[in-house]
């Protein structure tokens, strides 16, 4: 056997030994190869699966996003959105117009008008010997003039007028006997003239007064945020005006800030009461114009 062949045989043996070592000595390792391969396949499958799930989720989201975009870009949706803008402007105009109308309405309602029943009551109470010679009524003030044959009649008349409860107060301008000389009466005329007394009263009617209120946002030029609510109440009647502590206007929250009555800011006690009770009450003794001011709410509130 040649040397070369000998070496080749050794080498082959060596290979055989290696394989035999590999296969025989590590039979268990070799048997794991399919398991390894299986694990690899599973791992690849898992990776592919995860990737697929992610891709599916992505596709779903992308599709949903596209659907949202399509919906938002749709003509119908755009119309609704643009309609909101026009509606907002229209409502702002209407609010302003409504405020103007309600303010005008309140002013007209607040006018002092003559009630014919007052005149009739004055006439009905005339004593039998008394003649009404003059009557004027304007802005709740009444002037009554007359003549009476009896000296007590004017005072009796005053009493009956007071008892009707239509006057807040009546003053006597004068009650005096007729003086012919003041009228340049001649003795002949004087003989034909009966003695009588003249009188003049001035009365203040228990009037009706307008009570109105409206809401504003506080500022250098307060912005009206409500129409003017007005009602006409008789003198002495109680009135109640709602003063909600918190309001929402155009999506923003506002808190009661201050209140004015006829342009005068109410004191702290009344304001605190209004905040607590969310209303203010009072007795009507004159026209009342109540303005309720709000300021934008802070996180901690703006009371105080």
């Amino acid at each position: 056997m040649s040397t070369t062949q000998t070496k080749r045989n050794d080498f082959s043996k060596k290979d055989m030994n290696f394989l035999s070592e590999f296969s025989s000595s590590n039979t268990q390792v070799a048997s794991l190869i399919p398991v390894f391969l299986l694990v690899v396949v599973i791992a690849i499958a898992v990776v592919v699966g995860i990737t697929a799930v992610i891709k599916i989720q992505e596709a779903t989201k992308t599709k949903a996003t596209k659907e949202l975009r399509d919906e938002m870009n749709s003509e119908e949706y755009q119309e609704k959105l643009s309609s909101y803008d026009s509606t907002t402007m229209a409502v702002a105009d209407l609010r302003s117009y409504h405020f103007v109308l309600s303010e005008l309405d309140a002013r007209v309602k607040a006018l002092t008008v003559v009630n014919p029943a007052t005149l009739n009551a004055v006439v009905e109470q005339l004593p039998a010997d008394t003649i009404l010679t003059g009557y004027e009524e304007k802005d709740g003030k009444v002037i009554i003039r007359g003549t009476s044959l009896e000296s007590y009649s004017p005072m009796n008349y005053l009493e009956t007028l007071q008892s009707k409860g239509i006057f807040e107060f009546i003053s006597i301008t004068e009650i005096k006997p007729f003086t012919p000389t003041e009228n340049s009466y001649t003795p002949e005329i004087m003989m034909a003239v009966d003695d009588y007394y003249t009188f003049e009263f001035v009365g203040t009617l228990k009037g009706s007064y307008s009570v109105s209120y409206s809401q504003y946002i506080e500022g250098e030029t307060p912005t009206s945020i409500s129409s003017v609510s007005a009602s006409v109440l008789a003198s002495g009647d109680a009135y109640t005006i709602p003063t909600p502590l918190n309001i929402t206007y155009e999506g923003a929250n506002y808190t009661l800030f201050s209140i004015t009555i006829n342009g005068v800011v109410v004191n702290a006690d009344i304001l605190a009461e209004a905040k607590r009770d969310e209303q203010i009450t009072g007795m009507v003794d004159s026209a009342k114009e109540v303005k309720i001011f709000y300021t934008q709410s802070t996180t901690e509130g703006s009371e105080g």
Binding site: K55, L119, N120, V123
Partner: protein, 323 residues
């Protein structure tokens, strides 16, 4: 050989790490990034849509408020009269006095219209306004004896003697009835603001009612004006004959203090103006002629006037009105 087994296992683990790591790096991570991007995109679009949906939802509330405001506005627009129409108002107000049998007016007047505006928050005045005018109607009562002029008689000053001693007394009762009618007719827009009774010491009284009449002047009006035409439309009570002239003709002017015109004369009942001979009349000498002739001869007043007219007046105007 045990080392070879370990190497194989390590190799395998290495391969696994490479596979898993590679997968994570090359597949899963990019996919997750893409998913995150898609989610972020979705969230952003969704938030945008939610915001817009909220706006659309808010529009429903706005529409509700708009309807409510519109309804309230239309109601208020029709509280006052749609316009101030002076003659229709005067006709309506005076109608209450005639209906109450106290038609004898001593004065009817009205003021210029005045506006009521609202100062807006920007300091300007509102274009939408209320407008009002004040009517004063002064009527006379009677003393129960002397009838006042008869509207049906064209010769209003001629029947005085025949009217004496009638027993129609008109006074407070009629005035009060008229006041009640006015006060209850349209209280939102027609308001009695002043009343006065004035005894004349002559057996009758004057009665005065002052009435404020309110209308609106609205640039932003939403509704049609009310169909109620009271105080707005003149109530036609027949065709109004036209053909009046400018200036009182001289034949209607007469001297005062002279003998009355005979009731058979065409001048009877037509003279409405007292002549004033002191008045400077450089181009109107007719009455001067009459005056001159009056002192120049023995003609009666009527004769002098008729003669003067026939001589000096154009033919068209020399014809006196016939009864």
């Amino acid at each position: 050989m045990k080392n070879a087994g370990r190497e194989t296992i390590l190799l395998f683990l290495l391969v696994m790490v490479v596979i898993i790591g590679g997968s994570v790096l090359l597949l899963i991570n990019p996919a997750r990034d893409s998913l995150a991007t898609a989610k972020a995109d979705y969230d952003m679009v969704k938030a945008e849509k939610d915001q817009k949906d909220a706006i659309i939802e808010a529009e429903k509330e706005l529409n509700s408020e708009k309807n409510s405001l519109t309804s309230s506005i239309i109601e208020m627009e029709n509280v006052l009269l749609p316009t101030l129409n002076t003659e229709a108002i005067a006709q309506r107000l005076y109608g209450f006095f005639t209906e109450a049998d106290i038609p004898y007016y001593a004065e009817i007047s009205s003021t210029e219209k005045a506006y009521e505006t609202v100062t807006l928050s920007d300091g300007t005045s509102s274009l939408d306004k209320a407008v009002h005018t004040t009517f004063t109607i002064k009527v006379s009562g009677t003393d129960g004896y002397l009838m006042t002029r008869d509207e049906d008689d064209a010769h209003t000053y001629t029947e005085l003697n025949d009217e004496l001693h009638s027993s129609e007394y008109v006074g407070y009762a009629q005035f009060y009835a008229a006041l009640q009618s006015i006060a209850s007719d349209y209280p939102d827009a027609v308001k009695i603001t002043e009343v006065a009774i004035e005894d004349t010491n002559q057996g009758f009284c004057f009665f005065t009612a002052t009435v404020d009449v309110w209308a609106c002047d609205l640039q932003s009006r939403l509704s049609d004006p009310s169909a109620d035409t009271n105080y707005v439309v003149w109530v036609d009570n027949g065709a109004i004959a036209t053909g009046g002239i400018v200036g009182i003709p001289s034949q209607y002017a007469i001297l005062t203090g002279f003998s009355p015109v005979a009731n058979t004369s065409p001048l009877y009942g037509t003279c409405i103006y007292a002549n004033d001979f002191e008045f400077d009349r450089p181009f109107a000498a007719w009455n001067h002629w009459g005056y001159m002739r009056l002192y120049d001869g023995n003609l009666t007043l009527e004769q002098q006037l008729l003669e003067a007219r026939s001589e000096n007046m154009p033919t068209d105007t020399t014809t006196l009105p016939e009864e």
